[in-house]
Symmetry: C2
Subunit: 785 residues, 2 copies
């Protein structure tokens, strides 16, 4: 946990004013730069000290065998693990023969700033070596949003007081030692020396190149670097390459105030198919384009790209500077994780760490994509197009499991199932309905017909087919889905999980509607009228259990009959429960890891009455321990809807500080994309009350006491709607695009050129006292150490 305020609270940047090596690994995650294709952890240029070295390429993985104490039919034999590829960030410095290392000598100054509008990470260092040689170092790093394959570092060293001999070594290094090994099952299995060298060419005409491949997955990766160097006369430049190291050495003597400046451009490419020469040429070409743009050009492009993004994605929060910073930090990282996907997944940690082995999960579709759909829709389309590209694997998996349609993997990089524990993996079939939900949301928001026909429809109908194979009509005519696992990982393999059934119902309906809209394409895909009728019939009688005695929905059938977890007897240090209690014990009790039924109330609000929402929320609030980062935002949304505005605000605070204060103590493994998306969801769907679907954009804004103004923009059907909420009223403005109908607290109105200001009705009186399990109230934003 980051127990002191690590970062200054500023609206458009994240500033670390002094280096704290105890939280170095966490700051590496937070200061990651990425464009969705390349990801660089915020490692110090000189390589050491280091929490976890990290350079990732989206989709690049190694296979590792999945072993089982007792194996079973259909268990995946291997899993995928993200690879820390060739490190191009590395620039070492010698001052009068003393290696620059922040752990030695004297650090006069060490400031790092992530600039959310510039898209750069800047570092300013004042340092005296153990022998007294003082230098000033300024580095600026970027991963280009406009040049997908390119990253660059501007590195400047200045002699402060006396003349200094300075040597800078800029490197490409593969197979770095992984420093960090954890016993936590959620952390990646470490890979030792995953890359096999194919080619290591020292800088010729300034360009150095390395090519490697992986042993088991058979993927090839190339990286290249070149430099613009400006130093005093007599500056010496040498190039060497041997083993897994490729090095350009620059040696010079700096007069006091004299500077050596070096711009390092480096590029990456990988492929499962392309040859070594082809990949070699590709990274050289990328470098040439970058060098043509030059450092200033890359920076200008970066800013332009971001200006355009913020135009439609910024959220203003007045009255809470921390949340203001957090929402921008979050949106910046969402963009970083998705901007240049080009049909690759968005992993749970983006490209900021090796947590969860670099896998993508359902949280992308349920938390991340709906935000992108309304702010940066192209990225949502890209991520779903990746899902579509994995349909062959998902169909093969369904066949292996004796099902029809597709069975998408619980966790994956390449589309193959990578889960080694099926009750919380394979059985979590809701991933299929989650993908369908993201498709339906995107199509509804964009009216992107080409996407719907080519990408959406195949996804919708294959997932609908799965539900037809997985469920059955019981003796009462209800459509049951038995033996599946919902979002809450503290229950598993239960019957008629309400979330799953409601999402499957929506999936079935969406598939039937999409098939109606694209009858020719549907027919090509083998859909018959009989099949769409079956989908509609199953949806019409979908089982949704209800506990009449308690007047609440059981999360799954029988859930409310189970014993309630002994919260009073659980010690604070026994959380997260999964690390201190056996699954059997969690599964048989009423204890909820993360919003499940409450998430159903958010995504399928139409299936619940306001009274049911209030009762269900109160019931599950008392059972939910939030041992997951995928919960606070959903609880915030429903708390706001049922009038618990202060509670919603506290959940917003938790979501906002998840990574900035490392509330779950695993930011070291990468930052939580879904939780970052959750800050937007808490604000826009929570206090903005935004819901979209069926061609309707609705808001129900209400601010909690702490906030004086909340303003955000939402893209919908070609328009960009700006919403500005104050405590008493909301102003709607058409920022871009054609007029459209919007609803304010249930009342539709036309939004045209003129802004519309409407009063906010007061919140419904909460019916019940809400409480959380002992000690599991929303986390304070700044936990004590």
């Amino acid at each position: 946990m980051i127990t002191h305020p690590a970062f200054a609270v500023e609206p458009w940047s994240l500033r670390e004013c002094r280096l704290d090596i105890d939280v170095l690994a966490q700051t590496e995650s937070v200061f990651s730069l990425s464009n969705g294709h390349i990801g660089l952890r915020g490692n110090l240029e000189e390589g050491e000290p280091c929490g976890e070295p990290g350079t990732y390429l989206n989709g690049f993985y190694e296979l590792r065998p999945l072993l089982y104490g007792e194996a079973g039919y259909g268990y995946p034999e291997s899993g995928q693990t993200v690879v820390n590829v060739t490190n191009g960030k590395l620039i070492r410095l010698l001052v009068d023969d003393e290696p620059f290392d922040v752990r030695y000598g004297t650090l006069h100054e060490h400031v790092r700033v992530l600039d959310l509008r510039a898209g750069t990470l800047t570092r300013t260092v004042g340092w005296s070596s153990p022998t007294g040689g003082q230098v000033r170092l300024t580095t600026t790093r970027l991963v280009s949003f406009t040049h997908r394959a390119v990253a660059a570092i501007r590195y400047e060293v200045e002699a402060v007081d006396e003349p200094r001999h300075v040597v800078v070594q800029s490197e490409l290094v593969a197979n770095e030692t992984q420093q960090y090994v954890s016993g936590d099952p959620r952390v990646a299995a470490p890979l030792e020396s995953p890359l096999v060298l194919e080619e290591n060419v020292p800088a010729q005409e300034g360009v150095a190149i390395m090519v490697h491949h992986t042993r088991a997955s058979g993927l090839r990766v190339a990286s290249a670097m070149c430099h613009d160097i400006a130093g005093p006369d007599g500056t010496l430049i040498e190039a060497q390459a041997s083993g897994d190291v490729n090095r350009v050495t620059v040696a010079t003597r700096l007069a006091p105030g004299g500077r050596l400046r070096l711009v390092k451009y480096f590029s990456y490419g990988w492929s499962a198919r392309r040859s070594r020469p082809a990949l070699h040429d590709q990274v050289v070409a990328a470098l040439a384009a970058a060098r043509l743009a030059g450092w200033e050009g890359l920076c200008a492009d970066q800013r332009r790209f971001l200006d355009e993004f913020w135009q439609g994605a910024d959220v203003e929060v007045v009255g809470d500077p921390e949340v203001q910073q957090a929402i921008r930090f979050g949106m910046f990282h969402l963009l970083q994780a998705s901007a240049r996907l080009e049909d690759r997944p968005i992993p749970g940690k983006g490209l900021t760490g090796s947590g969860y082995d670099g896998h993508a999960f359902w949280d992308t579709e349920i938390f991340v994509l709906p935000v992108l759909t309304h702010t940066y829709p192209r990225a949502a389309a890209d991520a779903l197009t990746w899902r579509k590209s994995t349909l062959p694997s998902a169909q093969a998996r369904a066949t292996q499991l004796g099902l029809s349609g597709s069975a998408f993997p619980w966790r994956t990089i390449n589309g193959e199932e990578g889960s080694g524990y099926w009750p919380a993996g394979t059985a979590a079939f809701h991933i299929n309905a989650d993908i369908a939900y993201a498709v339906a949301q995107y199509v509804d928001a964009t009216e992107d017909t080409a996407f719907e026909r080519d990408v959406g429809l195949p996804l919708l109908l294959q997932t609908a087919r799965l539900w037809c194979a997985l469920g059955h009509h019981d003796a009462h005519g209800r459509y049951r889905i038995d033996g599946v696992t919902g979002p809450d990982e503290y229950s598993a393999v239960a019957d008629n999980n309400v979330y799953t059934n409601l999402m499957a119902q929506q999936n079935l309906r969406a598939a039937a509607e999409a098939a109606d809209r694209h009858p020719d394409r549907a027919a090509e895909l083998g859909v018959t009228p009989e099949e769409t009728t079956r989908w509609r019939d199953a949806a019409a009688v979908m089982a949704v259990p209800y506990d009449e005695r308690l007047g609440v929905h059981p999360q799954s059938e029988g859930f409310t009959e189970h014993e309630v977890w002994d919260f009073a007897g659980t010690k604070p240090e026994q959380y997260p429960l999964l690390r201190h209690f056996h699954y059997f014990d969690l599964y048989r009790r009423q204890v909820v890891k993360q919003a499940d039924l409450v998430l159903a109330m958010h995504l399928r609000g139409d299936a619940f009455t306001p009274e049911q929402k209030a009762r269900d929320f109160a019931y599950y609030e008392a059972l939910t321990v939030r041992d997951s980062s995928l919960s606070a935002c959903t609880q915030a949304v429903i708390a706001a809807e049922v009038g618990q505005l202060e509670l919603a605000y506290r959940y917003l605070g938790e979501a906002a500080m998840m990574d900035l204060a490392d509330l779950e103590q695993n930011t070291v493994d990468g930052i939580h994309m879904a939780s970052l998306a959750g800050v937007w969801i808490s604000l826009v769907a929570g206090f903005g009350g935004m819901r979209a679907g069926q061609g309707r954009m609705r808001f129900a804004p209400r601010l909690p006491p702490g906030l004086t103004r909340l303003a955000f923009s939402v893209r919908y059907r070609g328009s960009l709607v700006h919403v500005s909420v104050t405590s008493d009223a909301t102003t709607y403005r058409l920022q871009e695009g054609p007029p459209l109908t919007v609803a304010h607290h249930g009342e539709p109105f036309p939004l045209r050129a003129e802004p519309v200001r409407l009063p906010n009705p007061s919140a419904p009186e909460p019916e019940q006292r809400i409480h959380q399990p002992a000690g599991r109230a929303p986390l304070p934003r700044h936990p004590e150490g």
Copy 2:
């Protein structure tokens, strides 16, 4: 599968008239010799060809790491695997420099006979070497019931036609290569060279010794051999020892009709604590005792021991010679698995193979011990005393799982949980009630008060405490046990499994009653009146779900709401289902691997009305695929009870031929002790209708059309009751012991010196047509190839 009649049908022996190398591995299991301490597979003396070499010592294991695709709290880190220890059976033969190998030359005769009264395995061979040297070989092997640490082989070779040079090499060999590797998860993980040599002493004064230890489990094993050799003058004897081989070589020249005879005595000892010298001396001492008895003495002791056993354990079956042979074969192997346990477990495969890693499971308590309790009760006491000795591990496991009392392991050798898949391991908590059941049965049958106080009571109360921690009273006051797995492994982690709840109910009551009978000892063990009241209260309101709509008991809550498995669409080669379908698919459907609710009807018959039994049996009969050897006998018992005598007879046939015809195609891994016990159960509890408990011994005999007479003896409260059933009447006779009250078809009568003959009422008319899933009717005894 053994597709031809491998064995001659004889009442008191198992005779193989010719060698079939295709089923060599199966016959090695069937011809195993054991006394419950030492187990020797029926490997050919010359070592090759070989299905799987096997020499086992009860309780001797190596640890192997248990790995997980995704680990979780409380998962065992290592499992135990039975070790193939030093092979003392090995005697190689050279005839005129040609090694004797049945695959070469000409085999004129090869007969093996397992004599069930002598307790020996005899082999008679006529062989000509490839160069024409003809010999006759006769070997007789025994594992002594009276000398626990000793086995012996009488080995005789005779030159038939011409003078022959003959060399016999008698060996001790450790770390033999395991030949057989299977992909079946039920098979042992092979261990390579598990034994580390400590000492290898060539025969001095005739005694050769080897001492080894295991790497991870740190157990030490010693073996020794010595020989009585009788051959022509000039016979040369040499001793050598190197590496893992210890050899005595006997070379001679035999005139036609001349013989070389060698009696090999070999002994074993192992310990986790004792030193090398101590173990060394122990095996030498055992050999000395054996040599003192001599071959004839060992054989005479063996026969005396068996005569006494058969006196109380024989079952006569007139009208079905195959079943007659099978029941004696089964009882012989039960004795072999248990005679000299001395506080070690009875593994699922006894000491006849490495199947299931040599682990003991619940089947010992539920199938094997009840048979021993009524035929050879000392062994049942021994096996339960072993359970008691593992209480510290079971208590530690309960604590780890957040429970009270003890949580006995699902599979184990040393008392530690060795299951690598918790839904079918740890969650099968019924093992605890099963142990309690075996205790209660034993105490009821023997009135062994000392055992009850010292062994039974601690087991009963610790298991009762588990149920108190595992269950809870629901809003209706019922006592629920949620999230557990019953006997049927095609369902898992369900609520209120009827078998589990009824067995737990019995466990709770038995614990309370035992505490009442031994109040001082109970108080010492911390039992208070409040606690026994809690046990009784929980038992009194135990939840037993019932489906009013169908009029049957669901196996677990909600089971009858699940979709019925598509039996019509399942191909014969897709059985066993677990090898062709994913667990999730099995768990969510109505498909039963093995008797579960039906087993509850056998063991807790008092909890069901006759009408319920008939309806439940019919319902589950249509769902039960018997992908387990632990089902046919239970189905036989209940089929007989509900009047389906012909069906019961067919299930008896399946149980009887399980290993003799290798019906499940895994006899190679060892024979199925529980299934062998099941032959007795089918006959005695099925057609004899025997039930015991609460001081009452009841019978309800009825023969199926095929049998003309069934006679058996049952030990109960110091008496041995002989029951002889014909189609119309039953004769009860007091074979030993004091008079007692017995019930015949519900009518109690006093059984004194005079035999009592009573008519058998006709069977109840079966209410419903019974059918099994397509293709899953009882297996024919002799499957076609």
